[in-house]
Symmetry: C2
Subunit: 476 residues, 2 copies
């Protein structure tokens, strides 16, 4: 179907994309009609072939949770190589990455005053353990993270206490509620330690009311003592808020066990649909293979793994030969260090990347397309969006040339100024399960998952067929 | 407002309830108009005074989970006495009950083949512990409890294995989905042991897809070996089903710790709105004060405690003096033995009970009224329902004289043939949280809770004012 550049130019001249005025064709690049037609066929095929569902069902059933460097992560590597082979993808490889990992041990907490009540908690990723026997102290309650940061260090009421930050996150389609609150997870423990606290606790960074606590990475400011850090489930956070409303300062007991700096290996998993005349140029469609150790890593990021792998497989299955190489990259250790993204950025620094994008926001439907491309390529965004329009995807009225290509792809974009694509998913329900035991296969909607795969297949194909490069981006 | 029997009869003659034809008045008993009016006022007052919410908020915040015989159960006793005093209820007392209780220890399970995967499980109440180091065996999978019971004992594939029963429960308004499936929890372990199994596991008896396992009482057939019994969360049950669909027989490791026959004390908590001319006759409105050790006992049965206590308090607060005594009974150890109900049945066997009813199905709205009353009193059911009609409560077209007054009240009704009332609640969402960590205050809808209290207040008042006794029921 793709007949080389000359044939495509002829086709483009004959039946140029509606909306690219003939008079400006020399200035405004356009996709060849045959490429647009192939994109629509890929879209429709991926929508109905069930491949993304097969992949996420298989990964969650046969591997499950797969924290970077664990035995399950190694099984995930083998699983990915087997799927790449089954789907006839080329150049399949696992690129090993030595790293040091944090491993969760048993943890727990309870109120000991005003009355004994068990709490459902999770240690935050990278938390140090407590001394044997745990830490017991009165709670110093802060309504939100800003209140903690505004608390003067000298004479802080945090001193000798367990700091608790009660900030709730907002449910939004685009995930900005998470962005607005994640700082309390990343930096809260050191802000508390700076004020003399003996431990740090926070309301779970999530939107569900289930009694399941949220985990996720935190980081220590090495200038401060490292104190243990936990999140309370939302109903337990509500309990603390009710006690606070009574004027009660509860006493909490916290126990955390964890191992740090465990030598381990993870991998980037890579496979390709080989390009033809522009094979050196890479269209990178990524996800991350690792997950947190809770749940099954179904939405985070089994869904993304399934979406981008199925997208590449659909191009292969259709017998299409793209101009550029479509490369699936399943990054290692996105969750706790971006080791995979950093290693990829080093290793492939000299490979021209037409585009980088990552699916890492669950399995909600794609509703928006945005891209950070060089100005000369920006006219191609609208026709790309037009192919996705039947799936409910729109270009935004403003900000079409902004966006975030995903956490690992974002590392690449920032490092090398490679162009990025954002297929914005509906994340309204994502933070109900993200980073919790509830991230299990039943939370994945097969129809929405297929819609995602259809979008990525069509988008990747068109990016590979573009008559012009999407980069370079202007300097930051 | 209640002016004695003579005044009531006069009022009844003057403004008899619409629908009780004058010509049959001598045969058909009717409520006095003033009593109906007072019932409507109680209804409206309880709907808006917020008392039930205050009670359940207080119980879950200040006590939390309160398994019978625990330190928290003793705190719940003190809490109830304090609330009875605050609400000016009379004859408040705690009637101690010695009992032996089961106490949960740590438990866990995981798949060890085809791959290591952690499972989220809960030990069933009364489960024996596993030997130190746990039990490890291949899973013998049964689609439902009937399949297990149909499996011939001789040569059963259960022998030496961990029996797993995958039966899912149906979501219904009236809870019949629970009734249809609870047998696998109560008797499954002994059915498995009869066939040589080394442990018993089942799909959680609940309607949610949260990765939170369900507990609840099970019972051993003492003719069989006692084997440990657990429930898997629904996502983990789904995982087993997917492995089964692949033809895989997983190997599971189970560890359960528990203490049996621990000497303890629980209590029935009792308080009254004293009657006048028929004070000896009791209108019993009950709930149970104990809960499982998971969650906060908010819906099961903090809501019921709040509803019936608030109902009695509203009669007291209105300054009404009922003819019969309205007695609040908060039963001890409903969850694992009905000790409170049995002790009450023994102690009060000679007290005439006009009516027994219990609120123990969460905080969903009441939608139906049913009662098991002597034939002579049955004409009073329709006018009682008419008072509740503005709250969305209806008499059923058939079966108005059937029903279940609740688990503890049912013990009393069966033992003594005391008349029973059922205020049927909408239980559609109840089994999303019942007997799980998710049974927390945030799952209680304050408006629906107030609707319940309004129904119980009006119903209890009218039962206390009835011109005729509701009993005795005919022999079983």
């Amino acid at each position: 179907m793709s007949g080389g550049p000359r044939r495509r130019q002829l086709l483009a001249a004959a039946c140029a994309w509606v909306g690219a005025p003939q008079g400006v064709y020399a200035q405004a690049p356009a996709f060849a009609a045959a490429d647009l037609e192939a994109a629509a066929q890929l879209r429709d095929q991926a929508l109905r072939d069930g491949e993304a569902w097969r992949l996420v069902e298989s990964l969650t059933t046969e591997v499950g949770a797969r924290p970077a460097g664990s035995a399950a992560d190694a099984r995930a590597r083998d699983w990915a190589l087997a799927q790449f082979a089954r789907l006839n993808l080329a150049e399949a490889r696992a690129e090993p990455l030595p790293l040091r990992v944090w491993r969760r041990g048993p943890s727990g907490a309870r109120l000991v005053a005003p009355a004994e009540q068990p709490l459902v908690v999770a240690a935050l990723g990278n938390s140090v353990g407590t001394p044997a026997g745990g830490v017991r102290a009165e709670v110093a309650w802060y309504a939100d993270y800003a209140a903690l940061r505004a608390d003067p260090v000298e004479g802080s009421r945090a001193r000798g206490r367990i700091v608790y930050v009660d900030q709730a996150m907002e449910r939004t389609r685009d995930g900005r509620g998470y962005g607005a609150a994640v700082g309390m997870r990343l930096g809260g423990a050191s802000e508390a330690a700076r004020r003399g606290a003996v431990a740090y606790a926070m309301r779970s960074l999530g939107t569900s009311r289930n009694r399941i606590a949220h985990t996720g990475a935190m980081q220590y400011d090495l200038a401060q003592p490292r104190i243990p850090a936990i999140a309370l489930s939302v109903p337990d956070a509500d309990l603390l808020a009710r006690l606070h409303a009574r004027g009660t300062a509860p006493v909490m007991h916290v126990e955390v066990a964890a191992a740090e700096n465990v030598d381990a290996t993870t991998h980037n998993l890579i496979a390709e649909v080989p390009g033809t005349d522009l094979a050196r140029e890479i269209v990178l469609i990524g996800a991350h293979l690792d997950s947190w150790d809770v749940g099954q890593g179904a939405l985070d990021d089994g869904a993304g793994v399934a979406i981008v792998t199925a997208a590449a497989a659909s191009i292969r299955a259709a017998g299409l030969r793209p101009r550029r190489t479509v490369r699936v990259v399943l990054f290692g250790n996105e969750e706790n260090g971006f080791d995979g993204a950093r290693a990829y950025a080093d290793r492939y620094r000299d490979a021209p990347h037409q585009l980088v994008g990552e699916s890492d926001f669950g399995a909600g439907r794609v509703w928006r397309l945005r891209g950070r491309w060089a100005a000369a390529a920006q006219p191609l965004l609208a026709p790309m969006a037009a192919v996705l329009a039947p799936l409910g995807v729109a270009l935004p009225e403003t900000g079409a040339h902004e966006g975030n290509p995903g956490p690992d792809a974002g590392v690449l974009m920032r490092r090398h100024r490679w162009p990025g694509i954002e297929l914005s998913q509906d994340g309204s329900a994502y933070f109900d399960v993200h980073h919790t035991e509830n991230d299990t296969l039943d939370k994945v909607d097969p129809a929405a998952l297929a819609q995602n795969a259809a979008c990525w297949a069509a988008m990747a194909w068109l990016a590979a067929q573009s008559p012009v490069p999407f980069g370079p981006l202007p300097p930051a």
